[in-house]
Symmetry: C3
Subunit: 209 residues, 3 copies
Amino acid sequence: MTMETIIEYIGFIGLFTFAISGALKAINKKFDPFGILIIGFVTAVGGGTIRDILLTEKSVFWLNNPTHLFFILGGVLIAILFKNKLNRFNKSLLLFDAIGLGLFTITGNQIGIETGLHPLSCMVLGTITGSFGGVLRDVLVNETPVIFKKEIYATISIAGGAIYFILLKLQVDNPILQIIPILLMIIARLLVIKFNISLPQIRYNDENP
Amino acid sequence: MTMETIIEYIGFIGLFTFAISGALKAINKKFDPFGILIIGFVTAVGGGTIRDILLTEKSVFWLNNPTHLFFILGGVLIAILFKNKLNRFNKSLLLFDAIGLGLFTITGNQIGIETGLHPLSCMVLGTITGSFGGVLRDVLVNETPVIFKKEIYATISIAGGAIYFILLKLQVDNPILQIIPILLMIIARLLVIKFNISLPQIRYNDENP
Amino acid sequence: MTMETIIEYIGFIGLFTFAISGALKAINKKFDPFGILIIGFVTAVGGGTIRDILLTEKSVFWLNNPTHLFFILGGVLIAILFKNKLNRFNKSLLLFDAIGLGLFTITGNQIGIETGLHPLSCMVLGTITGSFGGVLRDVLVNETPVIFKKEIYATISIAGGAIYFILLKLQVDNPILQIIPILLMIIARLLVIKFNISLPQIRYNDENP
């Protein structure tokens, strides 16, 4: 199996787990089955879709390859069938979600580089790819996106992109170049969850206390 | 009048009625006149716009043809002038909305086929075209999209796409190929409204009851 | 300095002030620092990004030029450091926001003309460019977009586009063609704020009073 194939498969796992996370949220909100499917779908493909739309010349990744859709359908079905078990095994789910975040972030950065963009733009693309599926999920279920408030999430995506560019500058080769930031992001994300770490809030003395 | 012209005209009726439905929602929410115009506009063109944006090479349908905008302006104006009457004739409005759903769904599927996409991707495109104007409308007025919860809506769009592909496989010719799923979707939607049918909810024993 | 350079610089000021306005809102909502950065970013580039995505052949303006991102980073940093001062100088902020609205509206209209669109489509593009960053900001912090309800905002953008096309018809030359509607929009916006003017609401006797 080549590196590329491995990355493609991990990408499918990312879609699969993001679809589960979206579907569980929709189940929680008492959506009907097709509402659950749509939220699972949007959570899984949302970030990569916004990335591909921003890159004018790139076609949207899931449109031409139905395999992506089968993994999402699978994730949603698993979520519906095993919703109680999955709640109990919540931590294994968070692991997959962390893998998805790490991988999608690096995918976004790499696609940015291939398009010839500035490192800063690449990091923005990587963050969008990794986190905006979850943002769309929360907007559609009418909640304030969780990544802005309670969890360090986008932060890890931005930091992962920065580490990737530092390694690139240090002329680290493929696939170490990708594996290091992906692993660091997964570890960081799991530590954040385990120890319930938040970024310090900005203190703000506003008129409406 | 050719079949194509008929479809184009029904498309305009779809825009017109979606604009009315969006505008009425915004009036209800006490938006100012231009807020009402924007919500009517987004409801009418939202689904088709997301479809055209996803298809990288396709230009957005309403940008190059102001006729679409005139139908939307007309719908919003009608909604503002006859808001009370329209509330009373709510059912005639729902009929037009059902026509819009049916037609936009098939339009989305057909554009997907013309672009050479997999049937599954076409059905996703059709569902987005038919339902996501209403999703955007509800997100902008800060409500949970109604199509995910209380009404069978996206479900009909997905089913309509499936029927369309079955008929295509059976080598049914134009325009019967389009008319059958459109009519079935309209009838299904009206039955759902008439008998207040919902999909069964997924039971879910979560921690926060 | 050429007119084009001046417009580019005022554009950067627009990004800078929209970033401040977004960041202040996110601080208010107790977002974490990177949540604040993302809301500042989306507020600043949102309108122009939707415009560029709608114009299939146009690449997204901030992707290829990191200068835009530096101005946004600057705005967010200023908002975090001087949040209390900025609240006190709220009016100077509103001035910059009004400048951004005026300039972005005309930019959107001009890009529409260059793309060969109908005046009505251009006015829609101008309104999207001027107002939809704020709409995205409010959707992401889970509020009903303020521009639909409490303030005359999109209205000024639509009117500004109309004035621009009237002047174009009267064969007014650059840069007067741009300066007049921009100044009129800024003045109109400041008067609206100063005198707390709203559009009349549509009276609506609905079933749920």
